[in-house]
Amino acid sequence: MVDISIADATVEQIIANQKGLVAIGAGLAVGLSGIASGIAEKDIGAAAVGAMAEREELFAKGLILTVIPETIVIFGLVIAILLIFL
């Protein structure tokens, strides 16, 4: 652990520090939204598989319903990429 007191830090150190925080933020954006998608998708997926077991034609409808919450993680990813590259 490097102990940095802000008052003594050089400009480079502060910039590096901020880059680290941005990376943590990006990681949280993807990670948390991924967990959220997972939680939302698990119930839908289970129900969709159940429905498909009864009627195989429901595959496409099941797929559509299952992937709807995936948008959440895409949002997270976009935010993460914006944070890191812009």
Partner: protein, 650 residues
């Protein structure tokens, strides 16, 4: 293309005496979709199945049970069987097969049974094999009761001794349990029952045998081996039988299926005392052929006429749908069927997803190396499979891999390595100063987009969102066309064009905010967007406001084109880095480990490269694109007839 095949409703009427002939002709034509006759409110009755039906279906049931017993799978025959000679020999061969197979079944059942009996007896006897008693000695006493079985602990002897000393107890351990054989006078029955109960006694019955248990068991094990050998020879007999009769069974199955289908066809017809009426659909390009064939065969004694479609019939989903696509687009019909067939009036988007599906796939995977691997897989699939869904999917894989290779060239990637420029894999493998190395090193027109370079990633992201805007608006335009035809121009404009106006407004606002046009553009853009919103509310009601964010989420959803690709190239890059910077420089055994890591890593990534881009490309079609215009729910056009695979008629 873009529309289902045009079909006409037709009616075929004739005298009942010609019924069989008509069925034969229609069957051979294999292009007439026969509609089931609905008996409700009709003075006509359903036709009777032909005489051949019962016999043929009985034989078919028999044949299918044989093919089940022999474990037959459909395959492509080397030679086609002649239908007449097949029918000639069918009865005799069927009888022969019947007797052989029932003999084999009996034998197999007998052997299986014997095997089970032996196994259960061994299980029963084994615990007692350690006691020095013959099996018959456990039974047949007048004044002594015998208890055989398992108990939890071996401490029960003290309990017994408290009752009496006049007993004989054998005890030994078996599989973590205690086996006992207790011989005791019948007068203590009740007390003993209590003691046994206390020790959780589990009774086992001794089988009805005589002799030393150990000898009995070894005898049974010998017999078990014999039975197993007999079973194995039985299986090989079944195998030979399968090889011998495989072609016969599959060919007969086909002939009999055809016979039953033909014989049962009248069940779909309406009949009166002397005539029959067939209600059917024929595609317009085949109509002339059907009419002229029927005219020629029956000299005008059969009447066939085209019926006019009523407006509500075109609206409903009752018209059977046959795709009308050029051959290269056919594989995409599998993807369409997975969702739902189009209805008669709507656009059939197979030809559109023929372009967009491989395009999206290529944008995501975009790697020459993976593209070549998948192309090989697809080609093998096309060569091995002659028909069916898997063949369509293989063809689709080949299309996708070609697009993957094209984007691989644009990204200049091969298995996650760069081929051109400063990090060229060719230059580092061949030596930087070799002719090829120099060529690849200095060629820097490619990559057009470098997915491994941070500067290019936002460009890729924006490009994929723009692709999304184009794709979505194509969907709205198609929706406009479908809606205009089914619900009229006004609703089409309000419900579909409104979205485009709304996007246009937002686009003007964004461009104005970025300073490309004067700031007044912001107000104009906002006005346009509000106009779009008003149109939308007029078309779909206030509920449309809830739909508004979907335009944002739908567009952003296309950024997966960039994101899925980045994850794939990320894995490839990580594998390559581990191998080239950490393993190879160590030398020796690490070179071999490095090669293994490369192979495993890229194999895993190839599998992921089929699954992830495939599913995401599919989802963009189904969720983002289709929901803008597509309803589906059409019925399959199912022509009455059969495509022969195993037999021919001479």
């Amino acid at each position: 293309m873009l529309k289902a095949k045009k079909v006409s409703k037709a009616m075929i009427v004739g005298n009942k005496s010609l019924l069989d002939g008509v069925v034969d002709v229609l069957y051979q034509l294999n292009c007439v979709h026969i509609e089931d006759f609905d008996k409700e409110d009709s003075f006509l009755s359903i036709g009777r199945p032909g005489k051949a039906a019962t016999e043929a279906s009985n034989k078919l049931v028999k044949l299918r049970s044989f093919s089940n017993f022999l474990g037959l799978k459909p395959h492509y025959p080397d030679t086609l069987a002649n239908q007449d000679s097949l029918l000639h020999e069918m009865d005799d061969t069927l009888d022969e097969l019947d007797s052989t197979i029932s003999r084999l079944t009996d034998k197999r059942n007998y052997l299986d049974n014997e095997l089970k009996t032996i196994e259960s007896k061994v299980v029963e006897l084994e615990p007692f094999s350690q006691f020095p008693l013959d099996v018959e000695m456990y039974k047949g006493y007048n004044s002594i009761s015998v208890h055989t079985g398992f108990v939890r602990s071996n401490e029960m002897e003290t309990d017994i001794r408290n009752i009496t000393t006049d007993y004989e107890l054998f005890i030994s351990s078996y599989n973590k349990m205690q086996v006992i054989a207790l011989f005791i006078s019948k007068e203590y029955e009740e007390q003993i029952a209590e003691v046994l109960d206390k020790n959780a006694f589990l009774e086992i019955h001794i089988p009805e045998l005589t002799g030393n248990p150990q000898q009995l068991i070894s005898g049974m094990i010998n017999r078990k081996h014999d039975v197993e050998i007999e079973l194995a020879s039985l299986e090989s007999e079944i195998d030979t039988l399968q090889k011998k009769y495989k072609d016969f069974i599959l060919a007969s199955d086909e002939v009999l299926s055809i016979t039953t289908q033909k014989a049962e066809a009248p069940l779909k017809f309406a009949t009166s005392d002397n005539s029959f009426i067939i209600d059917c659909w024929i595609s317009d390009d085949q109509f002339g052929k059907v009419v002229s064939t029927i005219e020629n065969e029956f000299n005008g004694r059969i009447f066939i006429t085209k019926l006019d479609l009523e407006e509500e019939e075109i609206e409903s989903e009752s018209i059977p749908i046959e795709y009308n696509n050029p051959k290269p687009v056919k594989p995409l019909e599998t993807i369409m069927d997975l969702y739902s067939r189009p209805t008669y009036k709507e656009i059939d988007p197979s030809a559109i997803i023929f372009i967009t599906f491989p395009l999206f796939y290529g944008i995501m995977l975009g790697d020459i190396g993976y593209g070549l691997v998948l192309l090989t897989l697809g080609m093998v699939g096309i060569a091995k499979l002659k028909e069916g869904e898997l063949r369509s999917l293989s063809t689709l894989l080949a299309y996708c891999s070609i697009s993957t290779i094209i984007f691989g060239i644009l990204y200049a990637e091969i298995f996650g390595f760069h081929i051109f420029g400063h990090h060229s894999i060719v230059a580092s493998l061949m030596g930087e100063h070799s002719a090829l190395g120099v060529a690849f090193h200095h060629f820097d027109l490619l990559p057009i987009l470098d997915r491994l370079h941070p500067n290019d990633i936002p460009i890729l992201l924006i490009a994929s969102a723009l692709i999304g805007v184009v794709h979505l608006n194509l969907g709205f335009l198609l929706g406009f066309r479908n809606m205009a035809i089914s619900h009229g121009m006004k609703e089409a404009v309000l419900e579909k064009i409104s979205w485009i106006v709304l996007q246009l407004g937002i686009a003007i606002v964004i461009v104005a905010c970025m300073g490309y046009i004067p700031p007044a553009g912001q107000i104009i853009g906002a006005a346009v967007a509000v106009l779009g919103l008003v149109m939308l509310i007029a078309g779909e009601g206030m509920g449309a406001i809830l739909e508004l964010p979907s335009i944002l989420s739908n567009t952003l959803s296309y950024t997966r084109l960039a994101a899925v690709g980045l994850s794939s190239v990320g894995i490839a890059f990580a594998v390559n880095e581990i191998v080239t910077t950490m393993l190879f420089p160590e030398g020796g055994i690490f070179i071999i480990i490095g090669i293994l890591v490369l192979i495993i890593g890229h194999t895993v990534n190839t599998v992921l490269g089929v699954v992830a881009p495939g599913l995401h490309a599919l989802r963009l079609q189904y969720v983002e694109f289709f929901t803008k215009f597509y309803e589906g729910g059409g019925r399959k056009f199912n022509p009455f007839g059969y495509i022969r695979k195993y037999t021919e008629v001479k």
